[in-house]
């Protein structure tokens, strides 16, 4: 069943939801948000698109197959933990540094951000693997 209202709304909502999820991910460390929530929002965005245009179309929009996203996320999480070990700290110790960028000025980055990005990817991947799988043969 195609609905004009739904598909028109989805067309505009998906980019906004994705932008919002990235925003949630990046601000998560200081303000409400984070990788888990961000990932769920992004997954919801993709499934909205899937409802409007079919799940296979939503799958096409993904940069990689959902399970690849899961794998990449887990590797990122592992990498963020191993990074500390290379410095001689215990596994998963957070490492931070401050970058001075021309635009936003001072910007702190650290391995927990990488960790959160990993969580984000795993949540998107795992959720979409299930959702797209369930909604496929329509």
């Amino acid at each position: 069943m195609k609905s004009l209202i739904l598909s028109t709304a989805a067309k505009y909502l998906l980019p906004m939801l994705l932008l919002f999820s990235a925003y949630l991910l990046l601000r998560g460390h200081d303000m409400p948000g984070g990788g888990f929530t961000g990932g769920l929002v992004a997954a919801a965005g993709f499934s909205l698109h899937g409802f409007a245009f079919g799940m296979s179309d939503a799958k096409r929009l993904l940069p990689a197959r959902p399970l690849r996203l899961v794998g990449a996320g887990l590797l990122l999480v592992l990498g963020s933990g191993v990074f500390a070990m290379m410095k001689g700290d215990p596994f998963l110790t957070g490492t931070w540094t401050t970058l001075t960028l021309p635009g936003p000025g001072e910007w702190k980055i650290g391995t927990p951000l990488l960790f959160d990005l990993g969580v984000f990817l795993v949540v998107i991947g795992a959720t979409l693997a299930v959702l797209l799988g369930l909604g496929r043969e329509d």
Binding site: L24, G28, H29, D30, M31, P32, G33, G34, G35, F36, T37, L40, V41, A43, A44, S47, P66, L67, V70, G73, L74, V77, L78, G81, M85, G88, D89, P90, F91, L92, G94, W96, K108, G110, P112, L113, F115, D116, G118, V119, V122, V123, G125, A126, T127, A129, V130, L131, G133, L134, G135, R136, E137
Partner: protein, 763 residues
Amino acid sequence: MLFALSAVFLMAMAAPWLGRLPSRMAGWVLSLVPLALTFFFLGKLGAVADGRTLTESWPWVPGLGVDLSFYLDGLSLMFTLLITGVGTLIFIYAGRYFHEAPAGRFFLWLSVFTGAMLGLVLAGNLITLFVFWELTSISSYFLIATDHKKESARKAALQALLVTGLGGQAFLAGSLLLGMAGGSLEIADLLTRGEAVRSHGLYLPALLLILAGAFTKSAQVPFHFWLPSAMEAPTPVSAFLHSVTMVKAGVYLLARLSPVLGGTEAWTVTVAAIGCVTMVAGAVMALFQSDMKRLLAYSTVNALGTMVFLLGIGTETAVKAAIVYVLVHSLYKGALFLVAGVVDHETGSRNVTSPRRLFRKMPIIASSAVLAGLSMAGLPPFFGYIGKELIYEGALKAPFAGFLLPTAAVTANLFLFATAALLVLRPFFGGTGETPPFHISPPEFFLGPAILGLSSLAVGIFPGLVDSTLIAGATKSVLAREIPVHLALWHGINTAFLLGILTFGAGVLLYAFRDSLERCLQGATRFAALGPARWYEWSLAVLNGTAVRQTRLLQHGRLNLYVLILFMTIAGLGLYTFFRGEGGWVLPNLLDARISEATVAGLILASAFLSIASPSRLAAVVAMGGVGYGVALIYVQFGAPDVAMTQFAVETVTVILFVLVIHRLPSYVRLSSRTSRMRDGIIALGTGGLMTLLVLAVLETGNESRLSGFFAEQAYPEGHGRNIVNVILVDFRALDTMGEITVLSLAGLGVYGLLKIRKRKEG
């Protein structure tokens, strides 16, 4: 050393891509890594021979005394060089062996195994050792099942994994007990506390558990049966894992812990006796095999038994003999396995009993086989001869059991002699019939056997190449004191020499009468059916049967019954504890509620009621989502925007999920009966009531928690974040989060797999 290990694991990650190359080339390229490591560790030889031990350590779980630490002494170095050196040859060989099929996955697991095995012998902490130990079992599982379309390969892989895995669990338990007895999990610490450990009350259980681990891994009787089955693996794997390296892990462990655990009566009796039985049984069974690889497998069982036997005796001579034999065996057995692989690959048959004249067909391979075979038979001037003499000396000088041990050693060796003769003579020189066409094997194939075979000869003639460096260093690690090691072919006429002559003579006779003996023994094979392999099958059947029954009972697939049982348990146990306990609860004044709070409460109640009363699944699910949103609104009101946001997102995705599923279900056909609804209602009320009581009880105790204060204070200075929840998730409790997302990934993977199966079934 961490660098060296990382190099191997990086190579494992690169292997799938390199596997797209022609696998011959991939083999050569990948072999560069172990080759470089061989030189890297050879560079340490001087320092180690001087008596130094090299250690490295990174904190891993410091709170539990678990460190990622490495410990390189003479013993580790010898094993390390075996792994990297033989590994190099194996990678080159395997590239050719798999020249028809893309071998990316195979090389991946072979590299993982190499790394795990290196980690195992370099580990300086029992837990580190255990992790690598398990990793070798796992990679062995995948390597045995390389040909995963074959049922027998899968079965053999599982058998090896279950037997060694079970032993691994015993080893873990044993290490923990040992850690408690010795006050440290660091091997370096334990080595200095042998006395304290041996007089500790936990010594015996720790010893038995660790021995169980070592015996399963090193295929000692009665756990030996997995090794011959593992011959389903491609030959490079059999040569590398199941003769030169992995099966010696148990021997390594015994040698490593010998200064800590060894020397007691319990040690000597158990280890020497099991080793002795294995030594004899392996040799006898080897002679009556007709498949080349199974023959080699049983003779490996014999060799492992010999090493364990000597370590059990534990005298200076015996330990020296054990160390020498590790090297002797690796050289000849590696060569012979690779030879067997070529014969199989180029003639399609591994039968040893039917005479063939393969010498004409593959002279280089056959010559390597002869070299290795002579070493296996223990003839001078090969290294095997030195090894055999030392075994006899070790057995003769054992302080107990009198003539029994030398008798066993001679018996095993004369069977080994006959086996070696069978292995080399019949396939390569047997018969008089047709001569197969001459054919030069590719260099990848003869490089390994030739190098290993020639080394058996070279080290035999010039034992000075290894005795004062490798052998002395390793012997010192096991004995915890230095002894002079001078190996030589000729020791004058002594008892060991005479026993050697006896072995030779009897061995020739045994070979001559092998076939008639086999016919006599045919009746005895019926007893083999009662052997340990049958016990394994039987216990596996019992285990599976029990699993099926208990799964049918508990995992029946009816979701409503699951929920029912869960809730009944929670409500029953919870309410019981609650009314037995002393804690009270307070009833808050409901009139204090603000309008907004009351509204949200009303919304939740209304949604809950709707979800029960609705005759449509979809409406019920959406109403449940309404309950969730209401809860999220409560979080918003009480200043937990983070939790609220997560709750909103989770509720949304859950409803989407439900909708996708429900979409496929028929609408309610038959509503549940009045009685079952009454029952469900009572259970629901009980569970809900319990949760309410718990919340009220929490109110009474007040909400002072030291934890939340700690997190609030430390979030910014320690975690560089102002959002406490997020800092907890990604920093303070990152390990938990990591576990959770791993579970999430697995769940996703599981559902994906189920959906795929269903799709395939449908069409």
